[in-house]
């Protein structure tokens, strides 16, 4: 919905929800409508005996993906339930948004160099380091990546505010218009990741749907 999207765009451009002035909040034109075009179908997939929302606001050297995978293993190990009975929603928000982006984004905008992800040779990596298992990762870390998480039934959602605030500006800095930059950034999201109006919104909705809240960034 255009009005609400504009509202969220404004928030992203302004840096943070708390920065909103009360006069803005009082402006009816900025109040989102009660229905929307956001894809909330992931909520219906939360059918396991155990339900977890894995909150990843930071990159933390890839630890969020490791924890997201390991906790599923621990549930199956300790409680003897199949992974299909452990519904898991990973929320990539705030700085964690970069893990939602494809290799092209990481290469084009030199994200590895920007945020300090280096390979074994010390050079900045030019791909999403947690997307797939790679030979550069030692076992048993290697399989604890994003696509294996999805393949095991894990749901991944990400934050539109973080996309607008932390990702889109890289495209605009390259000369794109704001609209084109936003469209291009959405086009560079990895397959199977569902964009949400905000990450914390998704964290809240997941708990309403019965998920336990699990912080998976290091602290």
């Amino acid at each position: 919905m255009t009005t609400r999207r504009n509202f969220l765009g404004l928030v992203g451009a302004g840096a943070a929800l708390p920065a909103l002035h009360s006069s803005l909040l009082a402006d009816d034109r900025l109040v989102p409508a009660p229905s929307s075009d956001w894809d909330m179908s992931w909520v219906k997939k939360l059918t396991g005996k155990h339900k977890l929302v894995l909150d990843a606001p930071e990159l933390e050297g890839g630890v969020p993906l490791v924890r997201a995978n390991v906790i599923g293993i621990q549930y199956t190990d300790v409680f003897g339930v199949p992974m299909s009975e452990v519904s898991r929603v990973l929320v990539l928000r705030h700085h964690g948004i970069h893990f939602a982006m494809n290799d092209t984004y990481w290469a084009t905008y030199k994200v590895g160099a920007d945020i300090g992800f280096t390979g074994p040779d010390g050079a900045a990596i030019a791909f999403n380091p947690v997307r797939i298992p790679r030979d550069i990762f030692p076992e048993p870390f290697r399989p604890l990546m994003l696509e294996p998480f999805q393949q095991s039934g894990g749901i991944i959602v990400c934050c539109d505010l973080a996309l607008r605030h932390l990702v889109v500006p890289r495209y605009t800095a390259a000369g794109m218009s704001p609209d084109a930059a936003y469209a291009a950034a959405k086009g560079d999201l990895l397959p199977g990741i569902t964009l949400q109006p905000s990450g914390i919104f998704a964290v809240g909705v997941a708990q309403e749907a019965g998920c336990a809240m699990v912080p998976v960034s290091a602290a």
Binding site: T118, Q207, G210, V214
Partner: protein, 226 residues
């Protein structure tokens, strides 16, 4: 518990998991939550999950403590119980409280001997009245240096009031056991020595975040206390 899993988690802990942050991994709800209290699968594992059966209060809280935060986790864990009693009229004995010491907060799960031997006071910034690093676990028991009314808000007091304390095995492997290994012990002996220095009454869990999730499975509200 199967050996391969221990090895697997041990490898994670010994390398980079839980916050070493290498450049890459290389180097009150609208809909009430189901309050199932899961039991371990018989014969599948030997982790002690009996604490979930003690969550019988009319209010259930899991306190997530990933950081030492100058002792705030213990203060908050105590204070919230008093507030539930004062504001909601629910006595502490009718509250079920689980404190999870994970990530950097694992040191609070360790005894005075560990803090003294490895100089944790100086390393973590906990000092005594003279300004020197403490040589004991600063939150275990009441200390004269701590002013009232905070002095009594300790870990042992939390346990005596019915609070359950859990600790993260991955953090123990990653942040504690290496200190013993650095003295010349083998990896296995170091882990064994570390486990022996965990304070009485603290239950080890496969990971802290696992326990955080299980506590909520059992009906606890999530409360960050670092």
């Amino acid at each position: 518990m199967t050996t391969p899993r221990r090895d697997f988690l041990g490898w994670l802990g010994a390398t980079a998991l839980v916050g070493a942050t290498p450049s890459v991994v290389l180097g009150a709800p609208a809909i009430p939550r189901a309050t199932t209290t899961p039991d371990p699968a018989p014969g599948r594992d030997d982790w002690d999950m009996s604490w979930t059966r003690r969550l019988t209060g009319s209010r259930k809280l899991v306190f997530d403590a990933p950081e030492l935060a100058e002792g705030d986790p213990l203060l908050r864990a105590h204070v919230i119980a008093r507030q539930y009693a004062d504001v909601l009229g629910i006595p502490v004995e009718r509250q079920s409280r689980v404190l999870i010491l994970r990530h950097n907060a694992i040191h609070f799960a360790m005894n005075d001997g560990y803090w003294a031997r490895f100089g944790l006071g100086a390393e973590t910034g906990f000092s005594d009245g003279s300004g020197a690093g403490v040589r004991l676990n600063p939150v275990r028991a009441a200390r004269d240096e701590v002013p009232e009314p905070f002095r009594q808000l300790t870990l042992e007091a939390f346990q005596r009031s019915g609070g359950i304390v859990l600790a993260c095995h991955l953090a123990l492997q990653h942040y504690v056991a290496p200190r013993y290994a650095a003295t010349g012990l083998s990896e296995d002996a170091a882990l064994e020595a570390a486990v022996a220095d965990v304070l009485p009454g603290i239950t080890m869990q496969p990971s802290g975040v696992f326990a955080v999730a299980v506590a909520q499975d059992a009906g606890c509200a999530f409360v960050p206390v670092s």
